[in-house]
């Protein structure tokens, strides 16, 4: 019995190639969509109870200025006159002079409320996520300052560079519908 002929002409070759490329494209598209769908279910976030303020959030993020910023829960804050997250350990004066401020980038705004209470707000554009203020607040205060991944900046990388470098395994995936891990009842993302 004679073998069937396996030769194909140019038209068939082109047709088959086009078909194969089309299928490959459709498959790739489906794969991309599938991957995107899975990733969009969750976001990266920092568990503030595990964070040790090592400073890597400021240096490891793929963004030029980290997506991690200090966050302030006003319901936890004591509105202290001498805030250890705001002032150097031995400030010259308890005022807003740059020499008295702990933050190297001046990213905390101190506002007088009523004697002896002051409100502290984070200036997100200046905060680099180093966690220096968080350390001061945690060590001596109520822990109302803590680091969070700001979702408006985060690229939600598949493999977060900070998460890899985090020595405390404080980076976790959280549901997209609840993308912050805030402290206290009055937790506020500002």
């Amino acid at each position: 019995m004679a073998e069937p002929s396996s030769s194909i002409n140019r038209r068939e070759l082109l047709k088959s190639t086009a078909r194969a490329l089309g299928l490959l494209g459709v498959g790739s598209g489906a794969g991309l969509l599938s991957a995107r769908e899975k990733k969009s279910d969750t976001r990266w976030q920092i568990n503030p109870d595990l964070c040790i303020q090592c400073g890597r959030c400021a240096t490891e993020c793929v963004l030029k200025v980290s997506a991690v910023k200090c966050t302030h829960s006003f319901g936890v804050c004591g509105y202290c006159k001498l805030c250890t997250g705001y002032f150097e350990p031995e400030p010259i004066n308890l005022d807003e002079g740059a020499e008295n401020q702990l933050c190297p980038t001046g990213a905390i705004k101190r506002t007088f409320i009523e004697d002896p209470y002051y409100e502290y707000n984070i200036i997100n554009d200046l905060c680099v996520g180093c966690g220096k203020c968080v350390k001061g607040c945690n060590m001596f205060g109520n822990g109302s300052l803590y680091l969070q991944v700001h979702q408006d900046r985060c690229l939600n990388c598949n493999t977060c560079a900070i998460a890899i470098a985090c020595p405390a395994q404080a980076f976790v995936r959280v549901p997209v519908g609840k993308p912050y891990l805030l402290r206290g009842k009055g937790g506020a993302h500002k």
Binding site: G25, G27, G31, A35, G78, T84, P104, N142, N158
Partner: protein, 362 residues
């Protein structure tokens, strides 16, 4: 012109496109499926493992200006240490929040888990299990126990059975310290930042420390649940104003008479948001104070002049380790002191979970 289809010998003509045979169709379908699958895998892998991951550029480490460093304050001058440790033992609680000594010399600690009565050697004499945190404990001359909890004071007999609950107090009532003066009871209410004056049955008879600028009283600043009241031998109450780093003297009628204390990380001052967290008063009117953040137990004369250390920060290595690690934060990490009938200082370290008995150096 006609020709045979190679698969099934069905005739094929130039007028109509050749009909593929079943074998050809299956082979083509398998190829198509394979290619589609490969494409899908490639797309998935591209997105999951590399897609959306911008290239990293090396970032230099942070400079020293980004480091919070208080290590220079965590060492103490040995020449300032006036006490030595006699013994130490576990406090028997998940998280200690208060310590006191009864007239018979027994040690009472309160906190998360209830109340424990301990001997001077650390032997457990009595366990009182309480489901909610106990913030303060004091023993009456009758042997009754007053236990301060959020919203109430529980009255217990000497065996730990509850005999009464006092709860007719303002919202947010948080009794972090109780002091007995004869039949009167003074309670530091951290939730409302005032000292409540109670009669022997727990009825409120007055308030001390409410903001009243006409009486030159600015009010207490209590950022966290550390607020302490004690009776001094000069007949005046002493109350911490932790946000202001002061200890203030009040009459029973609520007049502010005096105060002392200064803000400083240096050993003679108080630092952080809320220090001192607790204190007690010797029979001669001098003070022993406790601080969190920088765990220090210090001595002051009756006028508030620093005279030495009972224990410096380096005596609390577990505490410093936790503090330097940045977690847990300082809520629930107090240091508490009480003076026992023999003049020794009992120190409760909430982070280390221990009671230390300290006596003056010879």
């Amino acid at each position: 012109m006609s020709e045979k289809n190679s698969d099934n010998n069905t005739p094929a003509t130039l007028d109509s496109p050749p009909v593929p045979g079943r074998r050809t169709f299956l082979r083509a379908a398998a190829w198509g499926g394979g290619i589609l699958g490969l494409g899908g895998l490639a797309g998935y892998a591209a997105k999951r493992f590399s897609g959306g991951q911008p290239a990293r550029t090396a970032t230099p480490p942070l400079g020293d200006e980004f480091t919070y460093d208080v290590s220079r304050f965590q060492k103490s001058d040995p020449a300032l240490i006036r006490y030595e440790e006699v013994t130490r033992f576990p406090c028997g609680l998940e998280r200690g929040r208060n310590i006191t000594a009864s007239a018979d010399g027994s040690i009472w600690v309160a906190g998360t888990g209830g109340i424990r009565k301990l001997s001077n050697e650390g032997k457990l004499l009595l366990t009182i299990e309480i489901d909610e945190p106990v913030y303060s404990v004091v023993i009456r001359k009758t042997g009754e126990i007053l236990a301060g909890m959020a919203g109430k004071i529980s009255v217990l007999d000497g065996s730990g059975n509850e005999t009464a609950i006092w709860s007719d107090y303002p919202d947010n009532f948080l009794p972090t310290s109780i002091s007995l003066v004869g039949d009167r009871i003074f309670v530091a209410d951290a939730g409302n930042r005032v000292v409540l004056k109670l009669d022997a049955s727990g009825n409120k008879t007055g308030i001390i420390g409410e903001r009243d600028l006409a009486r030159n009283i600015a009010g207490f600043m209590v950022p966290s649940p550390y607020f302490c009241v004690r009776m001094a031998p000069d007949g005046l109450l002493r109350v911490t104003n932790p946000g202001e780093h002061r200890i203030e003297a009040y009459t029973f009628e609520g007049d502010l008479e005096a105060g002392w204390g200064k803000s400083s990380f240096a050993v003679e001052g108080f630092c952080g948001c809320c220090n001192p967290v607790s204190f007690d008063i010797f029979p001669d009117g001098s003070f022993v104070t406790c601080e969190k953040g920088l765990p220090r137990v210090k001595l002051y004369d009756p006028e508030g002049n620093f005279t030495g250390l009972v224990a410096g920060p380096d005596a609390f290595p577990e505490y410093l380790k936790a503090a330097n690690a940045g977690t847990p934060h300082s809520l629930g990490s107090g240091i508490y002191a009480a003076i026992d009938p023999t003049g020794r200082v009992l120190v409760l370290d909430a982070v280390g979970g221990t009671v230390r008995i300290m006596k003056p150096k010879d």
